[in-house]
């Protein structure tokens, strides 16, 4: 497959992932609304919101870094997408994954957050600074158990390539990491709750308390970019977990069902549990998931 076809297929994949992300957000918001016995938003509300944000007639700037913040964040989401194999066995939707893609994915996952922190900092709003300090401290503790789980996986499968990890899990549920290495899976899935940042770990954005955290000053198309990126990021992070622990996907319907269920888990927990304070959530991540991660490492060695 030549480069141009590859790029075109990657763009097609991005388009599908973006729309599925927006639809998934709407479905999840609808589900939470039904739990509260409300009717909830229309299923096409996220698209309308995007059109509205991009079509606002003016936007102001607080400086160059403020403008670059959403771009870096977008780079985090799209960068994660570019190196992520989506469909196992399909050359077209393997994107640009290569032998060491797991390492670069771990790096890019954090990169978007840092860019956003710089941009939000230049916004100058005190709530942005609060959101950034909370977000970075929580994400740092979330990354610890996740990184340990990934190291356990790398030792178990003796590779740093996502494609090979997915290949090793083919041939039935019994081969999934979920069953071959349940403790690492548990550590990673619990840290996933912090990645998606839904209740009880949504203090970073904390609606109703500090106005929406880091993006407080972002508006119009800046916010449009952030929202587009959020839709991509939610799906692609679910795809990462799917590839690592739940056997990957051999076709688009399987990918959609699996990402939906993975994302639904965090929503399910969020509906049941109220919000943690930041010191509580940091302590919790440093206790249960981290302990599980260390046990997973010890067992695999």
């Amino acid at each position: 497959m030549d480069l141009l076809t590859r790029v075109l297929f990657t763009l097609l994949g991005l388009f599908i992932i973006l729309n599925w992300g927006l639809l998934m957000n709407a479905i999840m918001r609808k589900l939470t609304a039904r739990v509260a016995r409300r009717v909830g938003i229309r299923w096409y509300q996220p698209w309308i919101n995007l059109v509205k944000l991009y079509s606002n007639r003016n936007a102001i700037s607080h400086g160059v870094m403020f403008q670059l913040g959403p771009v870096f964040r977008m780079m985090g989401g799209v960068g994660l997408f570019i190196f992520m194999p989506l469909i196992y066995g399909s050359e077209a939707f393997s994107n640009f994954s290569f032998a060491g893609d797991l390492v670069i994915i771990l790096y890019i996952k954090f990169f978007g957050m840092l860019g956003m922190a710089l941009g939000a900092g230049e916004g100058g709003h005190p709530y942005s600074a609060m959101g950034v300090s909370r977000g970075l401290s929580q994400v740092t503790t979330v990354e610890l158990p996740f990184a340990l789980a990934i190291i356990a996986l790398a030792v178990q499968y003796n590779t740093l390539s996502l494609h090979e990890i997915v290949a090793a899990q083919q041939g039935g549920i019994a081969n999934w990491t979920l069953l071959t290495n349940p403790i690492a899976t548990l550590a990673a899935v619990l840290s996933m709750l912090g990645v998606f940042m839904h209740s009880p770990f949504d203090l970073v954005k904390a609606p109703n308390e500090i106005p929406i955290g880091p993006p407080t000053e972002y508006h119009s198309s800046y916010l449009g970019i952030l929202r587009t990126n959020a839709a991509i990021l939610h799906v692609i992070e679910a795809v990462l977990y799917m590839n690592l622990f739940f056997g990957g996907a051999t076709s688009w319907p399987i990918l959609i069902v699996k990402t939906f269920l993975i994302y639904f888990f965090s929503i399910f927990v969020g509906v049941v549990f109220p919000r943690f304070k930041i010191e509580h959530s940091v302590r919790w991540f440093l206790k249960v998931p981290l302990a599980l991660g260390i046990i997973a490492i010890i067992l695999i060695l």
């Binding site: 609304a33 509260a36 016995r37 409300r38 009717v39 909830g40 938003i41 229309r42 509300q45 309308i48 919101n49 059109v51 509205k52 079509s55 606002n56 007639r57 003016n58 936007a59 102001i60 609606p207 109703n208 106005p211 929406i212 407080t216 000053e217 972002y218 508006h219 119009s220 916010l223």
Partner: protein
């Protein structure tokens, strides 16, 4: 009418300059400071920290494009969480299962930067007017104002109060009035639907109106707010 406007402005400008220095906080006054390197420089925080650029008219697109965009704007109304008077107690019930404004595409936003609609919910005291103006000016165009309750129309039961303004549309362009004291949440939802209709018809150009008649609005505001200690225009 035009001359009248100019006269109001001329007489008031001198007064405003006097009052401005009087009410400005010390850290916002124009002064000379010494830098760590020993140079003496002049700082004017009202110019340095705030933009005093006037708002400008932003022309809508033409034809089908603007119709589509207006439809999107009308179906995604983000309301600034800003309660002015007793009417603000009527807004929270809208998020509950009984009224549920989300099904109409209405949502609350905590910051003026991201909001497209401002609800003046009830009487507006002089002190709150200042905050309402700052919030309104920080919102992005196009922006809509929904005035709730009799107090915003003619002062209502506060019509002769010493510190409550009577007509909101002397200070900012209002798109929809919801009458009542207090209007129930259903009335507010009806107001939202009226606002949607207005946006779809392309008549909700309040921000452009504010930019075109900026001097008139400012003169009115400054007549009421005696301790004007903020920049003339708040980005």
């Amino acid at each position: 009418m035009a001359e009248n406007k100019k006269n109001i402005q001329k007489n008031d400008e001198e007064k405003i300059q006097e009052t401005r220095d009087k009410f400005l906080k010390d850290h916002n006054k124009k002064r000379r400071v010494e830098t760590p390197e020993g140079r003496v420089i002049e700082v004017d925080p009202m110019k340095d920290y705030f933009s005093d650029e006037r708002p400008t008219r932003k022309d809508p697109h033409k034809g089908v494009i603007e119709k589509f965009l207006n439809w999107a704007r009308s179906e995604s109304i983000w309301v600034l969480g800003f309660g002015t008077g007793c009417g603000s107690i009527e807004i929270p019930p809208l998020t509950t299962p009984r009224f549920d404004m989300f099904r109409f595409g209405v949502a609350m936003r905590p910051t003026p930067r991201q909001s497209s609609a401002l609800i003046i919910s009830g009487y507006l005291s002089v002190k709150t007017l200042k905050r309402a103006i700052r919030s309104y000016e920080q919102m992005m165009q196009p922006k809509f104002v929904l005035a709730l309750g009799s107090c915003t129309i003619n002062g209502g039961m506060y019509w002769d109060s010493y510190n409550t303004i009577n007509r909101v549309d002397h200070y900012m362009p209002v798109d929809v009035y919801v009458a009542g004291c207090m209007p129930r949440p259903e009335a507010l939802l009806a107001g939202f639907n009226q606002l949607k209709k207005r946006i779809r018809e392309g008549r909700a150009e309040g921000a452009n109106q504010y930019a075109e008649h900026f001097d008139w609005y400012k003169a009115n505001q400054k007549k009421i707010i005696k301790d004007w200690n903020m920049p003339d225009y708040n980005w």
